[in-house]
């Protein structure tokens, strides 16, 4: 690691940034232009079209934005002064931005193909607080980026050392590999993805092409006539189904490979780090203190393959929560235990005593959904749409079963200073959080719940809400009292 870089001198980003900016623009233009290329290929273009002017306008705009970005690049300097990252930018009116280290929440690296060719990374800095600022370095040499990150992290953790040049002698941070995703496991992860989502993506893609083609002036209705109407036999339906399934599985696998190729999940001195990606290498780090909630999920396939997806949620503003979440797919329970040992040493999953929620959780839903179903049935009969009736019943039964499974699996426990919640309909989802990380508690009671002296409890954390539904009113009050007591008596800093 190179710590000899002097950050007190204002400097620009790496020159590779120019390339990155150009690449970004080309990508935007290409995504706009390719439907037109298809249209030209089909030989149906109409150059006098208003749309083509619009397209030209878009391209001009993209190029103007690119030029502005390029000019900005040459006038943007950064340096470190007084425990803050200083930025100077602007051509005519100089703007100076000052980001104090203590306000910086996350520093994330990203590397796409161009980045890795020149050994640079893009660096994204997020700060929390009411006035949210984000700053992205397009390209920074890897050693420089690492040095900058270490500087910021060390400065944050140790406020006493004022002069950052002293940091040169600090020992290197230890890194301990918890888990690497082997190619075999990667394939398994790809195979057991939620393929319904992939089908959704395919559909969206087709709709998008359809729309683009229509925009570009291709009369799709002409082709519709060419589809034979009478041959909707069993074979064709089966073939289409298999075709779609294959495509969606393939898409899932490709997506997985792109995202999780060569994944490494690392234990650092006081946190976790994940590096993954095929074309774009992403690196995401979270310190123990910032991790609020951990959860692991599986589905029917994953359960069979005996692994879960582990998620570590960091404290962050609602807008960037998703981006700050560390998700590790293809983890065995053994490795989950390993993470828990590091993160919550005093906790033992085996000592959790899961408690059930009230059966009313299912009954209430069943009643409401039945009434709704009856109304729909009435409509179907009234309009004599008999085949809709089958769909209605099918959906109704699916909803009922999934709610029942949810009820069967829902269990919670407040034990060993941790809140444990497990549930899920077809798959499983287990959530775990230290009680002192809870920001607020709310008990809700609907008229129905009041009649049966039940209540629901919501625990708000800095990375989402954990809800325990349909427990007895007294239990809810007791839990609320306990949580408040733990939160108020804890001297630990939640972040």
């Amino acid at each position: 690691m190179d710590n000899n870089i002097d950050f007190s001198i204002p400097s620009r980003q790496s020159y590779v940034a120019v390339l990155i900016i150009i690449f970004k623009t080309v990508r935007i233009i290409f995504s706009r232009i390719w439907p037109v290329i298809i249209v030209l290929f089909l030989g149906k273009s109409d150059p006098e079209d208003e749309e083509s002017y619009f397209l030209v306008g878009m391209i001009v705009l993209a190029i103007v934005v690119m030029i502005i970005s390029l000019i900005n690049y040459f006038y943007t300097y950064f340096f470190v002064q007084e425990d803050a990252l200083q930025l100077r930018k602007g051509v005519f009116s100089r703007k100076s931005i000052n980001i104090p280290f203590e306000r910086i929440q996350t520093i994330n690296f990203e590397q796409n193909l161009i980045h890795s060719m020149f050994d640079v990374v893009s660096l994204k800095i997020d700060t929390a607080g009411s006035d949210q600022t984000e700053f992205e370095f397009y390209a920074l040499s890897k050693s420089k980026a690492n040095a900058l990150r270490n500087l910021i992290l060390e400065q944050k953790s140790d406020d006493k050392t004022r002069d950052f040049k002293l940091q040169e002698n600090l020992p290197e941070m230890t890194e301990d590999n918890i888990f690497s995703l082997s190619p075999k496991r990667l394939m398994k992860v790809g195979l057991s993805q939620n393929h319904l989502r992939s089908i959704g993506i395919i559909m969206l893609f087709f709709f998008w092409i359809f729309e683009k083609l229509q925009e570009a002036g291709v009369a799709i209705e002409e082709y519709q006539g060419k589809i034979p109407q009478e041959d909707f036999s069993f074979e064709i339906i089966l073939f289409t189904a298999i075709f779609f399934l294959t495509i969606s599985v393939l898409i899932s696998i490709f997506r997985t490979i792109f995202k999780y190729f060569n994944l490494r999940f690392i234990r650092t001195d006081n946190g976790f780090k994940i590096i993954s990606g095929l074309m774009t290498r992403r690196e995401l780090a979270a310190s123990d203190q910032k991790i609020q909630v951990i959860l692991w999920t599986d589905n029917l396939l994953k359960k069979h393959l005996k692994y879960v997806d582990l998620t570590l949620k960091q404290a962050s503003s609602e807008q960037i929560m998703q981006a700050d979440t560390i998700k590790v797919p293809g983890v065995s329970m053994l490795e989950v235990h390993h993470v828990m040992e590091k993160l919550y040493p005093a906790f033992d999953l085996n000592r959790v005593i899961p408690k059930k929620v009230s059966i009313k959780y299912f009954e209430r839903f069943a009643t409401i959904i039945s009434v709704f179903g009856l109304i729909l049935t009435g409509f179907c009969i009234y309009l004599s749409k008999w085949h809709y009736l089958i769909v209605v019943f099918f959906i109704l039964i699916i909803l009922m079963i999934s709610r029942y499974l949810q009820f069967k699996k829902l269990s919670y426990d407040l034990n060993l200073d941790m809140l444990y919640l497990s549930g899920g309909a077809w798959g499983n989802k287990t959530t775990l959080l230290p009680i002192y990380k809870i920001q607020g508690v709310r008990m809700n009671q609907s008229p129905y719940q009041r009649k049966h002296s039940l209540a629901s409890l919501s625990c708000f954390t800095a990375s989402g809400t954990v809800k325990i539904p349909y427990i007895s009113h007294y239990e809810a009050i007791a839990l609320m009292n306990q949580i408040l007591f733990k939160v108020e008596s804890s001297k630990k800093r939640w972040m």
Partner: protein
């Protein structure tokens, strides 16, 4: 990371301070009047819109449609007024040594608790209608997202400022 040694003896759940027992402080009576006024205003606007629509589309002024609309309107109006009247009775707050409790709702009831050592900041708001009734709204923000923010509406402005001071003092003390 500072780790302060912290005693943690086992405590019986029954001995913990209870969120159900404290005496909740009512918000100002003016808030009840204000919520009745606001719901009345909304219903009057609905009425005006309906008849304005009637001028354009005569169908709306046919007795069948008009009477069924008026009946629904009257029922809705009464229900909302009664609801605003009674929900005031359940609405209230308590400041305790380490936290603030707030309860609200009439049919769908809720009790929210935020401990002072988790408060991010407080804000006092006074809309034009609030000023008319000499009321203010205190919002207590935590890091738990917008869902967990505590909205104490219908406070006397002086009381709101006092509560804010108390919370901020406690926050620095407990923090």
């Amino acid at each position: 990371m500072e780790e302060i040694e912290f005693e943690n003896p086992e405590i019986s759940v029954i001995d913990l301070p209870d969120v159900e027992t404290p005496v909740y402080q009512h918000v100002e009576k003016g808030y009840r009047d204000l919520s009745i006024l606001t719901s009345s205003l909304i219903f009057i606007i609905i009425l005006v819109i309906y008849f304005a629509g009637g001028l354009i589309e005569n169908l709306l002024l046919k007795p069948v449609y008009m009477y069924s609309f008026l009946i629904t309107w009257v029922i809705g109006f009464l229900v909302s007024v009664v609801l605003s009247y009674f929900s005031w009775r359940w609405q209230g707050y308590v400041l305790r040594e380490h936290d603030i409790l707030y309860r609200s709702g009439i049919f769908f009831r809720s009790v929210t608790a935020v401990s002072f050592n988790r408060v991010q900041h407080c804000e006092i708001n006074q809309g034009p209608l609030d000023r008319l009734f000499d009321l203010a709204e205190l919002t207590v923000y935590t890091a738990g997202g917008s869902e967990s923010d505590l909205n104490l509406s219908g406070l006397n402005p002086e009381v709101a400022h006092k509560i804010k001071e108390v919370i901020l003092r406690k926050t620095t003390l407990d923090g």
